[in-house]
């Protein structure tokens, strides 16, 4: 057991423990905060695994943006403060499928890697990643930028009901107003 192993074990335990709380807690807001803990522990894992840029991007985008968006959604959907009992459906099938997937993958990976050891490479830098992104992976990178634009436009159109409505839907739109 080297120092990296101990760190990986500790951070992995934190990530899995808070992951359990994310899917098991009765409090909506706490689920979001446990998700922060889980994603932060994973960022620590990336740091130990010498993926420095990925770790910081994880902190910036996941912990900084995605979780904030989720908490905004929790607030905008008027989630109850405190425990609520109607968050789950009765779920033996879910437990069965989830445990089957998780433990099956665990068995597969443990069987594949056993206790083989690997020397950690030198700490990665943003320079190496950037070189790869803009040399070998520049086409997927550009496609991703188009995808982000499409997602942006799609989100705007979805959240504005007055865009893209046909004239014959005027009656149903007034009905929507009534329901609101």
């Amino acid at each position: 057991m080297t120092g990296a192993d101990v760190l990986l074990l500790a951070l992995g335990a934190v990530a899995v423990g808070s992951g359990v709380l994310v899917v098991a807690t009765k409090h909506l807001v706490r689920a979001g905060l446990y998700l922060v803990l889980c994603l932060g522990a994973l960022a620590g894992d990336y740091l130990v695994l010498t993926a420095e840029l990925v770790a910081w991007v994880q902190v910036l985008i996941y912990v900084g943006a995605v979780v904030v968006l989720l908490l905004f959604a929790v607030m905008l959907t008027r989630a109850p403060i405190g425990a609520s009992d109607d968050l789950d459906r009765p779920g033996w099938p879910a437990a069965l499928i989830g445990a089957g997937t998780g433990l099956g993958l665990t068995a597969l990976l443990v069987d594949a890697f056993r206790w083989s050891t690997v020397e950690l490479p030198a700490a990665g830098t943003a320079e190496g990643i950037g070189e790869q992104v803009f040399r070998s992976w520049v086409l997927p990178f550009e496609v991703l930028s188009v995808l982000l634009l499409a997602a942006l436009v799609g989100a705007i159109i979805l959240s504005r009901p007055d865009i893209g409505r046909r004239p014959d839907d005027a009656a149903s739109s007034s009905r929507t107003e009534v329901i609101r």
Binding site: V16, I61, L70, L87, P121, Q132, A171, R175
Partner: protein
């Protein structure tokens, strides 16, 4: 460094994500469980990048960055859908989403409440099943 430790962490997180997606009824919590699954995949990619000597160096980390960007786009569109659902139905319970809504919109009477529209959807689905028989 033993690569089995992060690999097992990722497998367990993926299983938790699957469980959460199937178990939760609240759409926001379903999205959180999806994030758990995406992060498990990211951890696998980064670990593989560290432990496998590939032809192209750092490909795993580049893919992890791409997956993070995809997750950001997914969460943006997903939350737009969830908020629109809340605006229409005043609820984000995924069990209660009526899948036959457009047909009911045309046929339904004006001023129908959301609940009665849902009943009408069930009724029309039943009627169609009867006609099919």
């Amino acid at each position: 460094m033993r690569p089995v430790i992060p690999y097992v962490t990722a497998a367990l997180l993926f299983g938790l994500g699957v469980y959460g997606v199937l178990r939760r009824r609240n759409a926001v919590l379903v999205l959180m469980a999806v994030e758990l699954m995406l992060n498990a995949v990211n951890l696998i990619l980064v670990t593989a990048d560290t432990t496998v000597r590939a032809v192209l160096p750092h490909s795993g980390q580049v893919f992890a960055l791409f997956v993070i960007v995809l997750a950001a786009a997914e969460i943006g569109v997903g939350l737009a859908i969830v908020l629109q659902l809340y605006r229409l139905r005043a609820s984000v319970t995924v069990d209660d989403v009526p899948l036959t809504e457009p047909a009911v919109d045309r046929a339904g009477s004006t001023g129908a409440r959301a609940g009665s529209a849902r009943d009408a959807a069930a009724g029309s689905a039943g009627a169609r099943a009867e006609a099919g028989r």
